[in-house]
């Protein structure tokens, strides 16, 4: 499952197009709460992400984080009880990212423009929420990845050596509605994301395209004493087709990557290399919302399954590679205003565990070839304080723990890595009669421990396309971000804003350097303009 890059948040250092960083921005940063409900959210997949600073609180451009069955647990039926107000936003932005501190399948440069709009409002006996986004991204600086999201849990991916610049257009549209029927709530959310990418100018052109529809259905029941319980089911499908061709005499060399075995390059001089990835996933979840200790609490749990099949031709030949995962997710979130509305505290803890196994049709007698057990615990807190009518501040803390054990049974090797990622962000905002101003900054540390294979015993393909990624994940890093926002109040509840941001990521000083570890730093700047309307949370 792929997501658009939220390029307007200064803290998200995005490897747009590679997709990996974007998922992290969506699922592990507190600023992503506005999209947590999406039916397109990853199911039974924990992509490997770049260690980036958290999103800033966005005091002037977004409402305060919400807690609810819809917003936190992704049960659209919760909207029947949670959507009493109205919100709408529109954003247009541009971001540029570059630097050598990257993984082999991340592009060296990313230039991205985006249009997006989202909103929610009451509708009849319930409420609806939805959004649409369009992103056009230029990928440069040796973009070797064939697939759009090469660093998913699945070990099956591929690279080619042309490294030509690419352009990619991604669109996402999603919506949810919840309707109240007596003490019951019924909900439906649907979403669709699609992309189309191609090399700009290349003797060995590369194309990739795909689509991913998804739907969530839910039901909730309001019990006494403000308790609401619910259940939901999610289903997703995704298709990605990629090809590398050589219309002239040039040779396209493609490296199929399948875990930690030595990749062997395959030359395609006629016909080209084709790959089709078909996935489907489903999940069932239970959730409950209640009030306790003067706070609104939401707890949820979800079990999920995902299967991915890859075939090597466009025709309906049988899939050659198979990847199955099972996932478990549990979470709890709470929001509590203090001292009237002067303070608002929101906290969220989510734990996700995914186990997966890969098989190949050609090696059926070998059984499972690759297995992975990955877990992530993400906890974040958001504290907002209205110091004075014109002054507000927000603090965010984030702690993330990742444990990844990925083992290649053919190569007889793998990784066993644990990562701590503590992060903090702060933002202050001044609001005048018309003009408002906000300044924020964030910092995050990435501290790994564990073991990865020694790359010296592997071939050149491994050292080029696999080892640097493992070295980067095993490197302590520091990332930080800063953003400045100006906002102008129009008539009514409409606000226009402009935001510029900067973020950077670099390895921390370490007592030793890993072989093939990427060096240098990676930085990103962004600028965005937008409007918000009928925001009841920010004056």
């Amino acid at each position: 499952m792929r997501w658009l890059a939220p390029i307007i948040t200064a803290g998200s250092l995005v490897a747009a197009g590679s997709g990996a960083g974007t998922v992290a921005a969506q699922t592990m940063e507190p600023g992503s709460w506005m999209r947590d409900w999406s039916p397109l959210a990853p199911v039974a997949d924990l992509p490997r992400t770049m260690p980036v600073a958290p999103a800033l609180p966005a005091l002037l451009t977004a409402p305060a984080p919400r807690v609810g069955l819809h917003w936190s647990a992704g049960n659209p039926a919760g909207l029947a009880f949670e959507g009493a107000d109205e919100w709408g936003d529109f954003t247009m932005g541009y971001a540029s990212e570059a630097g050598d501190f990257r993984r082999p399948l991340d592009p060296g440069e990313v230039h991205s423009g985006m249009l997006a709009g989202s909103g929610w409002r009451p509708l009849g006996p319930g409420a609806v929420s939805g959004g649409v986004a369009l992103q056009r991204t230029g990928l440069g600086g040796d973009a070797f990845a064939n697939a759009r999201t090469p660093y998913r849990s699945s070990p099956h991916t591929s690279a080619d050596t042309s490294g030509a610049d690419m352009v990619e257009l991604v669109t996402r549209v999603e919506g949810a509605g919840g309707w109240r029927v007596g003490g019951w709530g019924l909900g439906l959310a649907i979403g669709y994301e699609t992309f189309d990418g191609r090399t700009d100018v290349s003797p060995t052109p590369r194309f990739r395209r795909g689509g991913a529809p998804a739907a969530t259905v839910g039901v909730v029941r309001a019990l006494s004493a403000g308790v609401v319980v619910g259940a939901h089911a999610r289903i997703q499908g995704d298709v990605e087709t990629l090809s590398v061709s050589s219309p002239r005499t040039d040779v396209a060399r493609v490296y199929p990557l399948e875990g930690y075995t030595n990749p062997v390059g395959v030359d395609y001089s006629t016909g080209g290399y084709n790959r089709r990835i078909e996935g489907d996933a489903y999940a069932f979840g239970l959730s409950a919302s209640f009030r306790a200790l003067d706070a609104r609490w939401v707890a949820w749990g979800e079990v999920s399954e995902r299967r991915e099949r890859q075939s090597s031709q466009f025709l309906s030949d049988p899939p050659s590679d198979d990847w199955r995962t099972s996932g478990t997710t549990a979470g709890v979130a709470a929001a509590r205003p203090i001292a009237g509305d002067r303070w608002l505290v929101v906290a969220n803890v989510t734990w996700t565990r995914v186990t997966g196994e890969a098989t190949r049709v050609a090696l059926e007698e070998e059984g499972v070839l690759f297995e992975a057990t990955e877990a992530a615990l993400v906890g974040w807190g958001d504290v907002r304080w209205t110091v004075a009518p014109e002054w507000r501040v927000a603090l965010r803390g984030l702690v993330e723990r990742q444990d990844r054990r990925r083992w290649d049974l053919v190569a007889g090797t793998g990784i066993d890595l644990s990562v701590w990622r503590p992060a903090f962000a702060a933002e202050g905002a001044w609001t005048g009669e018309r003009l408002s101003l906000a300044l924020g900054t964030g910092v995050a540390w990435h501290t790994p421990s564990g073991g990865i294979p020694d790359p010296t015993g592997f071939n050149a393909g491994y050292q080029r396309f696999v080892a640097p990624e493992l070295a980067l994940e095993s490197t302590p890093t520091l990332s930080h971000s800063t953003a400045l926002t100006l906002r102008w109040a129009m008539r009514g509840q409409t606000r226009l804003w402009i935001q510029t941001g900067f973020a950077a990521l670099a390895p921390r000083h370490a007592p030793y350097t890993l072989p093939l570890q990427p060096d240098g730093r990676r930085s990103r700047w962004s600028i965005a303009v937008g409007s918000t309307r009928a925001n009841p949370f920010t004056p």
Binding site: V128, T171, R198, R209
Partner: protein, 932 residues
């Protein structure tokens, strides 16, 4: 009052058929419809709104209170439509009583997306204006909701039409009620027989001569209908697809008629921008009143499509511009009457380019380019003659400048070649080695068209009649340099020493095509019982194809075409319909006046190392393939159907049978040419000069040849069933389901012999020892298709949101050529002199026919089907502030591949996933919003 009057004139353009508002005849079974038109947001009355009865030329304007009054509305199920500049039109199905008064109020909204009950599919209750035959009516909202670049995309809303991705790549044609067979000719014939009428004037492809010579492939619309890329979807207001028996007003068709109304009318300016990874499209539509009696409008569309971006620099683009002026004189533009004279002047201009340039470093240097540009000037004058009659004069001049080229690198073995244009023997030269072959086809088809029509309403035999009669004349011709290539670099290299190269041909010398027509048509309406209503539309049309290029040059062929449609509605919610009629189609100029066929028989082929010693002697024979008997193709159409439902829901079922007799094909006609063989002298190498021919010839061979002569020898049979179900809205879910399905079987049979594959006859030509060769009866080709399209439409007027999910289910695709292939299948034999001798079936096993008993080639007789499969699309539209809207669309959203190269499966590849966005804004509203 002045403003309201101006508005009326502008609004009349939205519904041209309603322009001169003609009241019903006195005494007809009629009722009065009254009501009020109000602004949906404010509740204020809407002054000057036009309320019309669809399918009838009857309408009224709202007064200062927003009230309207339609007198003498025919009883029965009718559809009322209210419209006003700046508002989205609203339609309301009603059942008009036989007498009394019916009240119907309207609420108009600035944004159609915020109106209850908008129809975003083909309207199941819609009626083509003045027509009783089966028709699909596609309104503006459905067009806006459709992912379409041109008219071809809009027509996907018609039952039986497959979904396709939007774009400008390749020629776009439409084949109504036809299933594909194993040959493209079937689809081309169906497209050729589909009439397109744009703003009241027919478009014609009869004079298109952009056909490449045999063996050369480039995209061309010459053999089919017009290239629909020239009609942008963004500028279409309404499309009526008459699939059943059309009224006698429509001629030059076999399949059906598509009536297109553009948006060149007095409407608020609108700017639309559409973008997807392969295409960009911008459209502007605007119109305004110019004083009390004049209205001007303009629409512009520009689209660019790069279908293979990243791989090749192929590019297609389209520019389209339409200008319109309407002037009115006499009468009052209000409730009391209509202008006495209305003059519509339209200028349409377009340019469609489809380039496939050379790929850098590509050794084949292959490239093609199709560039069409043209203009059309049309004038329509409507003169009101009293209360119930009018006279309408339509005239147009249509010109298209067509430029096509094709090139590729050829490598020729030493091939003797002559460019002689007349019969006789001449010395030729040799072509050898690699060279760049290039052809250019430059033509300029023109059409002059005129129609004079008289309409009146009267009452007779207890029924109200809408009677019209008219005369039509058209002249089509082509000019320009025509087909050209450099003689030193001919495009064809597969030369067998007999078949000649096509010679360059100027189109200036091709005679024109002239035709005239007379028609009379009456539509009678009569109530019966308590609520019943019967309608009969009967007409007669005479089409005349003239022998020369003028209307006074005699009759080459003529066709009298009776047409009848009947509709009986015992109750308003149940209608039985039936129709039978005959239609005729003019042949194309390419078939009427085919280019001469050249046979260049090689007498001497002496290719020496020294070019000075080479000798090529060829005898050129010229055969005229034209057929003086070629005439009109005739189609017999019959259909019967039933419709059940009201405006909220409807189910329709139509069965049809159509037979086109004398459709246009070619008949291979055997003949022979002599080849003289000579002895040579002075043929030793090193002389520095070519050998000399020794006369007389030592031998003369007889070489059989085939001349493909255009003929009315194709029979096209189509039968099928079309069904639509427009289910009522599931109110709590704000969701409606529409299903349309079609099962169509087409059979094509070509009269005349089949000489097998090309190589089989060529072997006969070249083998002097072979005295005869078998021929067979032509294969019988059939195609069967079943297609169902399900649309789920979710509409939230409060949000201004419409979500349309479309699933097209290919239930059946089957093609089958029926032809006997056993060794006794031959029907006879042809001698070397071209004589055809039939052999009785019971004699084919005789020993003297041993040499004829050989396997047949060139006929595909295997039954091939494609498994059922489906494809899905999605469209999301959301209103924006200030009268704008935004939409997202995705085609084949699961990127399904279909069937491409499966063994024993007829291919049905699905186009790859496409998606895009569209933004529509109203500049005037924006300016109004920011104005201090």
């Amino acid at each position: 009052v002045h403003r309201a009057r101006s508005s009326v004139l502008m609004l009349l353009l939205v519904a041209p058929g309603a322009a001169p508002l003609i009241a019903q005849a006195p005494g007809a079974p009629e009722a009065m419809v009254v009501g009020r038109v109000a602004d949906a947001e404010t509740g204020e009355p809407v002054v000057g709104a036009l309320v019309v009865v669809e399918g009838h030329e009857l309408g009224a304007l709202t007064d200062s209170q927003g009230s309207y009054r339609l007198a003498r509305v025919p009883a029965g199920p009718q559809v009322l439509r209210a419209e006003r500049i700046g508002y989205a039109p609203v339609r309301a199905p009603v059942t008009v009583p036989t007498r009394g008064t019916l009240r119907q109020d309207f609420s108009l909204s600035r944004s159609a997306l915020r109106i209850e009950g908008i129809v975003v599919t083909a309207d199941p209750m819609g009626r083509a204006r003045g027509e009783l035959g089966t028709a699909s009516v596609v309104g503006r909202e459905a067009i806006a909701n459709q992912v379409a670049t041109s008219l071809a995309g809009v027509l996907e809303l018609v039952p039986g039409m497959p979904m396709s991705a939007p774009g400008l790549e390749g020629v776009q044609q439409v084949s109504l009620r036809a299933a594909p067979t194993t040959v493209t000719e079937t689809g081309e014939l169906a497209a050729f027989g589909t009439l397109i009428i744009l703003d009241g004037v027919p478009l014609s492809n009869n004079a298109n001569l952009q056909s490449p010579p045999a063996g050369i492939q480039f995209a061309t619309a010459a053999r089919g209908g017009i290239d629909l890329r020239r009609i942008p979807a963004s500028t279409i207001e309404r499309v009526e697809v008459i699939r059943g028996v059309p009224s006698a007003r429509f001629g030059d068709l076999t399949q059906g008629a598509i009536v297109v109304e553009t948006r060149t009318a007095a409407i608020d300016p609108e700017l639309a921008v559409r973008f997807d990874p392969r295409m960009a499209n911008t459209a502007v539509v605007a119109g305004r009143a110019l004083g009390a009696a004049h209205t001007g409008a303009v629409s512009f569309d520009a689209a660019r499509h790069r279908p293979n971006a990243g791989l090749r620099d192929d590019e297609a683009y389209r520019l389209s511009l339409q200008l319109m002026h309407r002037g009115t004189w006499g009468g009052a533009a209000g409730e009391e009457g209509t202008p006495r004279l209305v003059l519509d002047t339209r200028v349409d201009a377009f340019r469609v380019l489809d380039d496939r340039p050379v790929i850098p470093d590509d050794v084949t240097a292959f490239a093609t380019s199709i560039r069409d540009q043209g203009f059309r000037l049309s004038e329509r004058a409507r003169l009101r003659l009293g209360e119930d009659a009018r006279l309408q004069l339509t005239a147009s001049l249509d010109m298209t400048r067509q430029r096509s080229f094709w090139q590729t690198m050829r490598t020729s073995a030493a091939t003797p070649f002559t460019d002689r244009l007349t019969e006789g023997r001449s010395t030729g030269h040799f072509i050898a080695g690699p060279y760049l072959a290039r052809i250019e086809v430059d033509g300029e088809p023109w059409m002059g068209y005129g129609r004079l029509e008289y309409e009146t309403s009267l009452r007779w035999l207890g029924a109200s009649h809408a009677l019209r009669t008219g005369v039509e004349a058209r002249r089509e011709w082509n000019s320009g340099p025509g087909y050209r290539f450099a003689m030193e670099a001919p495009p064809q290299i597969s030369f067998d020493g007999i078949a000649g190269f096509d010679r360059p041909r100027s189109y200036d010398a091709v005679p024109a095509l002239a035709s005239t027509a007379l028609y009379v048509d009456d539509r009678a309406t009569r109530p019966f019982g308590r609520e019943g209503m019967a309608q009969i539309q009967a007409g007669l049309r005479l089409d005349i194809l003239h022998t020369g290029g003028s209307w006074f040059s005699g009759v080459r062929d003529q066709a009298l075409q009776p047409r009848l449609n009947v509709e009986v509605a015992p109750v308003p919610s149940l209608r039985f319909r039936g129709g039978w009629g005959r239609t005729a189609k003019l042949p194309s100029m390419g078939r009427l006046h085919p280019p001469p066929v050249y046979f260049d028989v090689v007498n001497v082929n002496w290719f020496a190392d020294d070019p000075a010693e080479r000798l090529a002697l060829l005898t050129t024979f010229v055969r005229d393939p034209s057929n003086a008997a070629l005439g009109l193709a005739m189609a017999d159409k019959a259909e019967a159907g039933v419709e059940v439902g009201s405006g909220e829901w409807a189910v329709t079922l139509v069965g049809f049978m159509e037979r086109v007799n004398g459709a246009f094909g070619t008949r291979p006609e055997p003949g022979w040419v002599p080849r003289d063989r000579f002895d040579l002298e002075n043929d030793a190498p090193g002389t520095g000069e070519p050998p000399r021919i020794v006369e007389p010839p030592v031998r003369t061979d007889t070489i059989p040849v085939l001349v493909a002569r255009p003929d009315n020898n194709v029979r096209l049979d189509t039968r099928g069933v079309e069904a639509t179900a427009f289910l009522p809205e599931i109110r709590p879910l704000r969701t409606r389901v529409q299903v349309q399905a079609a099962w169509i079987e087409t059979e094509q049979e070509r009269g005349g012999p089949d000489f097998g594959g090309v190589s089989q006859f060529r072997d006969f030509q070249l083998s002097q020892g072979q005295a005869r060769a078998p021929y067979w009866e032509s294969p019988f080709r059939s195609g069967r298709r079943a297609l169902a399209t399900y649309r789920v439409v979710h509409h939230q007027p409060t949000l201004g949101l419409v979500i349309t999910g479309t699933v097209q289910h290919n239930l059946l695709d089957r093609v089958w050529d029926r032809a006997a292939t056993d060794t006794l299948a031959f029907a006879g034999y042809v001698t070397r002199e071209g004589d055809m001798i039939p052999v009785a079936p019971d004699a084919r096993g005789n020993p003297e026919f041993q040499d004829l008993r050989r396997p047949r080639t060139g006929a595909f007789t295997e039954l091939r089907t494609t498994p059922a499969d489906w494809i899905m699309g999605l469209q999301v539209r959301k209103s924006l502030p200030l009268n704008g809207h935004f939409s997202f669309w995705a085609f084949n959203l699961m990127d399904r591949r279909g069937y491409v190269l499966e063994p024993n499966v007829h291919p049905r590849p699905y186009p790859r996933t496409r998606f895009g966005l569209e933004l529509v804004i109203a500049p005037a509203t924006l300016l109004e919003a920011v104005r201090p």
